[in-house]
């Protein structure tokens, strides 16, 4: 499904701020994989997501998605088949536009946008039903501007928008990090439901190790721009948070180097 071959990325090369964010990454993601990604601050998790989504160009290597070489495609071209939810709830939706307008734009992912009316009657009914299933009461506020929603509501909406047209790949970069624990839990549950129901292939970055263990079928740990640990199936299910912490210590040669890593 997704194949990453020898991908590296260095920011600000040749300056004092030079930073090798991705160091020869190789990764094969299979159809239907739901992979959680953990790693300390600056490990390169977001950079990996951004490279796949095409936010910045990669320095070298190949990225294949659905048997297509997308290494040189632009962000908006890749977005035809990639759904994304960002860490910042502000980034995923247009705050001055209504809930239904946001959904209507998402519903045209991968389609040519022409002079047809921006939202149809059938769509409104479809959105009503889809929102209803979120259980947040948003279905009765479809004409309300998104700017009036809470962060959690916005993340749930963004999630819906990212998956409204089934994407070949779903990228979630700490999409619950800005939410309070209860809301985060709810959004995570919705995430699992949607991924399960649509049989999506997804990558999810999280700092919560328990979540990383519980959710999905495969777990990847990153450190200094490399994948240092990759488990799946039964082995992953049997993991304990302590195991992950130990793995992390081994890799970094550092005892509990990272406060955020310890959470969870």
């Amino acid at each position: 499904m997704l194949k990453i071959r020898n991908v590296s990325k260095t920011f600000n090369p040749g300056t004092v701020n030079e930073k090798k964010a991705l160091n020869n990454i190789n990764l094969e993601v299979h159809d239907g994989d739901f992979i959680t990604i953990i790693g300390g601050n600056g490990a390169g998790k977001s950079t990996l997501m951004n490279m796949i989504a095409g936010v910045y160009p990669i320095d070298c290597g190949y990225i294949y998605l659905a048997d297509k070489n997308i290494s040189l495609l632009k962000e908006h071209q890749r977005a035809q088949i990639i759904g994304r939810v960002f860490q910042d709830p502000m980034l995923g939706t247009a705050s001055d536009m209504a809930i239904q307008e946001n959904l209507a734009m998402a519903n045209r992912r991968g389609m040519k946008r022409g002079l047809r009316w921006g939202i149809t009657k059938e769509e409104k009914e479809f959105f009503y039903k889809t929102l209803q299933r979120l259980g947040l009461g948003l279905e009765d506020r479809m004409t309300v501007k998104v700017g009036l929603l809470s962060g959690g509501q916005r993340q749930a909406l963004t999630l819906l928008m990212a998956t409204l047209k089934k994407p070949k790949l779903l990228l979630l970069d700490e999409h619950t990090a800005a939410l309070d624990p209860r809301t985060a839990h709810k959004v995570l549950k919705i995430t699992e439901e949607i991924v399960d129901e649509q049989k999506l292939t997804a990558l999810m970055v999280t700092h919560n190790m328990q979540d990383a263990i519980n959710i999905g079928n495969r777990l990847i740990m990153m450190h200094e721009g490399r994948v240092i640990y990759d488990v799946k199936g039964e082995e992953k299910k049997r993991l304990k948070v302590e195991d992950l912490l130990k793995k992390f210590e081994e890799a970094s040669g550092d005892v509990f180097a990272n406060d955020r890593m310890m959470l969870g």
Binding site: A79, G92, D96, E101, M105, A106, R109, R113, W117, I119
Partner: protein, 304 residues
Amino acid sequence: MSILLAMQGALSQGVLWGLMALGVYITYRILDIADLTVDGSFATGGAVCAVCVVNGVDPILALLLATIAGAVAGFVTGFLHTKCEIPAILAGILTQIGLYSINLRIMGRSNTPLLKSDTLFKNISEMTGLSSTWTALIIGIIVSIVIVAILYWYFGTEIGSAIRATGNNEQMVRALGVNTSVTKILGLMIGNALISLSGALVTQSQGYADIKMGIGAIVIGLASIVIGEVIFGQKGNFAFRLTSIIVGSIIYRIIVAIVLQMGMNTDDLKLLTAILVAIALSVPVLISKRNQVAMYKKLTGKEE
């Protein structure tokens, strides 16, 4: 009597220049880009229209050609901004400066009078027997209604929604598979097309095009927008907001007519407009800061 005449003139001027303000609104408010092409593209509209009319082109066709010329100017700014990644303000300035020479080339001199040529305004005035100010007002209103209707429709379509969203949250629009370079260029083209159309209409109504006619147009456009927003608020549906900007443009012209009647020098007008816009843009900020402090004092009480 003279004040009444001045008011009539203000009304028709306000409507014709209102289309320019709509163009500024599209880039400044919808696209969230401060586009300084305006001063150039307004005069381009005038220049193209004047040269066409002088050479016997049908006055309505001349308006259309001027509109297209504006769209091309907007495209250049958009191209410089999106493809060459020049900051929007600078891209607009570059186009504006370039257009100054181009406008001179188009006209071949700095002023093109339309004394002996047919204009839309002259033709209709002769046909109906109405005075030139009334004709200008009626033509302005009809064109405005048509333009507002077209904009209302366009910004409700799929591509129009994408343009609106681009001004709101570019990153999201790209993440939904839209090329934001295209939406920005389209927005700049539409905005400058309207600005040129306005320049062409003003040219036909005043009977000449002048190389300097666009100087300060951006500030006049902003003045119309802020006046419209102060009076009617930023709420209401899209057609209402567009209309409120045209009304803002009319009110701006009325203010100008009044201060001129009161004996103000025309040369000082630009300063007055600039001050007006600066005040209108800063007052909401100052008020909200003051309210913040007032609320703090009220909620916190006296220092112990």
